[in-house]
Symmetry: C2
Subunit: 72 residues, 2 copies
DNA sequence: TCAAATCATACCCGATAAGGTATAAATATT
DNA sequence: AATATTTATACCTTATCGGGTATGATTTGA
């Protein structure tokens, strides 16, 4: 399972968006996008979803990665 | 995809835990467990993970449910 | 190599999440 | 039915998230 952090970074760059643009398009603050991409763990769920929605994703339940199988 | 809310409620009851016990075992406040099970969307990510960890789960990326296929 | 764009870090402020607790409502147990 | 357990609602306080912004670092590209 790919961490949210890396998913967002990859997806954003794939779409050639800057953090500023991503912030604007998703309606969150720039600060938030930065903290998000830097792996801050105390973010608010709804804000994270707000960003993920831009990529057709949302937060959901996944297995706890102990050893980690990969995919995607 | 099962919403986090329902997953937690189901899992907790399956393990015959009260909200109080769940709160204690996961190390979050009782209030948090309540708000979590009532679908509050502004919760902090790390706290949600703290609870999910008890069930071997964590928060991750899932598809946005438009029409919703079921499973599980 | 220099300039421009992008990103990281740090500060302040207002809003609110989280915890604690108390009480009421609802469920379960006897 | 009466009681005990569990859950919901409400109030208060503290800590901090999120936004804004400014500055410095890093990356990109001309």
């Amino acid at each position: 399972m790919k961490p949210i952090v890396t998913f967002i970074k990859e997806k954003r760059r794939a779409l050639k968006l800057s953090q500023v643009e991503l912030a604007f398009k998703s309606g969150v603050g720039l600060r938030f996008v930065r903290e998000l991409e830097q792996g801050k763990t105390t973010l608010r769920l709804d804000k994270v979803n707000q960003v993920l929605a831009l990529f057709g994703k949302q937060v959901g339940i996944t297995d706890l990665d102990h050893v980690e199988e990969e995919e995607n």
